[in-house]
């Protein structure tokens, strides 16, 4: 039994000529609009990137209104230098210490000296007797053992304690360039409105300030935005990179070799594969919680370093660089495994067969034939994964990166802060100056990531040349 097809004439299938030509213009206009729409959307993505970079750079430089408690020129002139030729950093170490002695209260001075002493052979603020007493006490301050302060350190103290600059308002780069007078008017009207009651308008100096500067990179963190820097944070981030790499690379590459070269299809091996794919999609904050619960809390004796040092580690709990680095390592692991697997799978089978045919064992084949060929891919994937981990903030918050630390990390068991944490903290402060600092620190973080990515490219090129 057959179904009768409804009878159709040819004209029903195809448009008539008028219909066709009548639609033609509209159809081609629609196609053009669509192309324009797609192009516009892509442009929006580019604009977003440009705006983001613009915002960061714009906030990192610009005019500031600054009030110095003591003018550096006056200080230098008082010491008998010519303020025209000598800056405050041109004076000698002894003169700097002398300035501190003259301007800092004895209580603050003693505190500074207990943190870190000024001279190897003599004390400035403390008496020898008291010093010997506190150093013999149960908990001697860091100054008893640490090396004396260097020139840069004392200069920072002079800036902070003697000059005491106070940025009362800051302006953005573009606005400062286009309309420098506007900023002065703004500050002036701020004074009229009674905003800066502790100063007079005559005290205010307007100057250009690069928040992102060598001094910024090299000075330690501080609660005073004028002298705060990110050395501590950069060192913290570098420690984290080292520990992340030490953990994630051997384990990740090992797991990838196992899955690609050794594992036979079995239920358990399939489970591992599915599991890795799932782990790659777990939000980073969950890894932070894992790190908090296991590394910081359960493994506290190990991660705080207590079992290695007998309880005298620099940190009294598990919130250390080691915990954070391992957390980032766990987070990076799935990505390292997946990208290494891709690289290993791309190695042609003929190499494996050649190795086997020569009588090499599986591991010998992998080590001497397959890994060298897969290396560029493995390295690139790894470095990109690590670069992502460096920018991660949420897991570090969870494992307890300290927000305010001025002492450089001394090893895997110290407390630490890292660049993204520093940016997070500064961004969440309400004062404008901290925004400038956050922007400058963002530039530093982006430059660090750029360096890592460049390293990935260079390594890849170098290795692939050697293999060919």
């Amino acid at each position: 039994m057959s179904v009768q097809a409804p009878e159709r004439r040819r004209a029903d299938f195809f448009p008539t000529e008028e219909e066709y030509t009548g639609h033609l213009g509209w159809r081609s206009r629609k196609a053009t609009w669509f192309q324009g729409f797609c192009m516009a959307m892509l442009t929006i993505a580019v604009i977003a990137l440009v705006t983001l970079l613009y915002t960061i750079i714009n906030d990192s430089f610009g005019l500031v209104a600054i009030v110095n408690q003591n003018q550096p020129e006056d200080i230098v002139a008082d010491l008998g230098y010519d303020p025209e030729t000598t800056g405050l950093n041109g004076i000698t170490f002894d003169e700097m210490v002398g300035l501190l002695e003259a301007n800092v209260s004895s209580g603050v001075g003693r505190r500074l000296e207990r943190e870190q002493r000024f001279y190897e052979n003599r004390l400035v603020f403390e008496s020898d007797q008291v010093w010997a007493e506190i150093c013999a006490s149960e908990e001697p301050p860091s100054g008893c053992t640490a090396a004396p302060r260097d020139q840069a350190n004392v200069f920072a103290l002079v800036q902070e304690r003697v000059v005491q600059p106070d940025v009362i308002a800051s302006n953005q780069l573009v606005h400062s360039l286009l309309d420098p007078g506007g900023f002065e008017d703004e500050v002036a009207s701020g004074f009229e409105a009674g905003r800066f009651q502790e100063y007079t308008f005559e005290q205010v100096e307007f100057e250009w300030r690069a928040w992102f500067s060598p001094t910024f990179l090299l000075s330690p963190a501080s609660a005073t935005p004028e002298i705060a820097g990110i050395r501590t944070a950069i060192l913290g981030s570098m420690w984290l990179v080292i520990i992340t790499v030490l953990f994630a690379v051997p384990v990740g590459v090992g797991a990838a070799i196992y899955l690609v070269e050794f594992a036979r299809p079995s239920r358990f091996n399939n489970l591992i594969q599915t599991n890795i794919n799932n782990l790659a999609g777990v939000p980073s904050i969950i890894y932070g919680m894992l790190g908090l619960a296991i590394l910081v809390r359960v493994l506290e004796p190990i991660t705080s370093g207590d079992i290695f040092t007998g309880g005298t580690s620099p940190s009294d709990n598990g919130r250390t660089i080691l915990s954070a680095g391992m957390t980032l390592g766990l987070l990076t692991l799935p990505v390292v495994i997946i990208s290494s697997q891709e690289a290993l799978k791309a190695v042609p089978d003929s190499l494996r067969q050649a190795g086997m045919a020569l009588g090499a064992t599986k591991w010998q084949t992998v080590r001497s034939q397959i890994l060298p060929v897969a290396m560029p891919g493995v390295l690139t994937g790894t470095i990109l994964a690590v670069a992502r981990a460096v920018g991660e903030t949420a897991p570090l918050i969870l494992v307890g990166a300290a927000s305010f630390i001025t002492v450089d990390p001394s090893g895997p068991f110290s407390k630490f802060t890292a660049l993204p944490i520093q940016i997070f903290q500064w961004t969440s402060f309400p004062q404008e100056e901290f925004r400038n600092l956050a922007a400058a620190a963002s530039i530093a973080l982006l430059l660090l990531l750029l360096t890592l990515n460049a390293a990935a490219v260079i390594l890849r090129n170098r290795f692939s040349r050697r293999v060919e």
Binding site: A255, V282, P283, S284, I285, A293
Partner: protein, 323 residues
């Protein structure tokens, strides 16, 4: 008697027998452990999240029913209903998707169907740079650029300093590259024969793209969108910095739906935001706050796991069709 027969009868000569290689076995064992560590991570996540959540629900002021039904999250008075936090997360995710799906999809179509090699060479790196920027920098961007922009465009009395809209838009920008690259992969995997057949029938480029190529790649595109959604749900820093730290508690039926509950111009804490803010600073163990972040973490884990599995299923379907 041939050599073959002799081997069959006597076994291979001893020089060809498989000799034990302890080094090889040890390395094999090490590699297996490396592979198995990933299982340990998953078990660790599930165990810790589960254990702390269990302790959380053991507390007398908390019950599972209230956790799943109450619309107030006020730890100070002992009310732990997850809905305000879920509401914050969902609002931000929806706004992000509204921003990212058109931009990401249109970019992917342009790059795969229209762009010349040179144009692609320019735009692809731009999108890759967007992926590489840390999320905390996006958070800074949201707070110092997007929020002031919205406030000056829509009025400072309408838009709060912390608001869902700014966070949502910036999360959207953050996931654009994810959607565009996954969608572009799916589009370029569609066989050229389909395009050529459509052109042969007289279709315009628009008609080929939207009626032939996109439907053919649909499950691959959908997988990319779902993955991006999972990323938006788990995104922390932008949400913490820009969306504020007050959960939007509401009384269903009483509070105006669009005026208050779904108002994108005011602040609303998201799940990830709550976890980050609570954990920031010294959080002491075995407190209800400590346990509560794990219960939210567990919810978050299952939400993203569900989205990720859905995405994998879509990808597999797409693979079956074209590979």
């Amino acid at each position: 008697m041939t050599a073959d027969d002799r081997i069959r009868a006597e076994g291979p000569p001893s020089s060809l027998q498989k000799s034990p290689r302890p080094g090889e076995t040890a390395i094999r064992g090490f590699l297996f452990i490396c592979g198995a560590i990933s299982i340990a991570i998953t078990v660790g996540i599930l165990y810790e999240l589960g254990k702390e959540s269990f302790l959380f629900f053991q507390d007398e002021s908390v019950s599972v029913v209230d956790f799943l039904t109450d619309t107030f999250w006020q730890p100070q008075v002992g009310r732990f209903g997850i809905w305000p936090l879920v509401l914050g997360t969902l609002m931000i995710t929806i706004i992000a998707m509204l921003v990212a799906v058109p931009i990401g999809l249109a970019s992917a179509i342009y790059l795969s169907e229209y762009a010349s090699r040179r144009v692609r060479g320019f735009f692809k790196p731009v999108l890759e740079v967007l992926v590489g920027i840390p999320t905390v920098v996006y958070g800074f961007f949201a707070l110092t650029f997007m929020t002031p922009l919205l406030r000056s465009a829509l009025g400072a009395n309408v838009v709060g300093f912390f608001n869902v809209l700014s966070a949502g838009i910036v999360v959207g920008i953050l996931i654009v590259p994810l959607i565009s690259s996954l969608a572009e992969d799916a589009l370029s995997a569609v066989p050229d024969s389909l395009r050529q057949a459509a052109y042969a029938l007289g279709a315009s480029k628009l008609e080929v793209s939207t009626r032939v190529v996109v439907p053919a790649a649909l499950s691959g595109i959908a997988a990319g969108i779902v993955i991006a959604m999972s990323r938006a749900v788990g995104e922390t820093m932008v949400v913490t910095l820009a969306a504020g730290a007050s959960p939007r508690n509401f009384i269903p039926g009483e509070d105006p739906f669009f005026g208050y509950i779904l108002n994108p111009f005011q602040s609303a804490q998201a799940m990830t935001g709550y976890i980050a803010i609570t954990a920031n600073g010294d959080l002491s163990y075995n407190t209800i706050d400590y346990n509560s972040i794990f219960s939210i973490g567990l919810t978050l884990f299952f939400m993203t796991l569900g989205l990720n599995s859905l995405s994998r299923r879509l990808v597999n379907r797409f693979r079956q069709a074209y590979q």
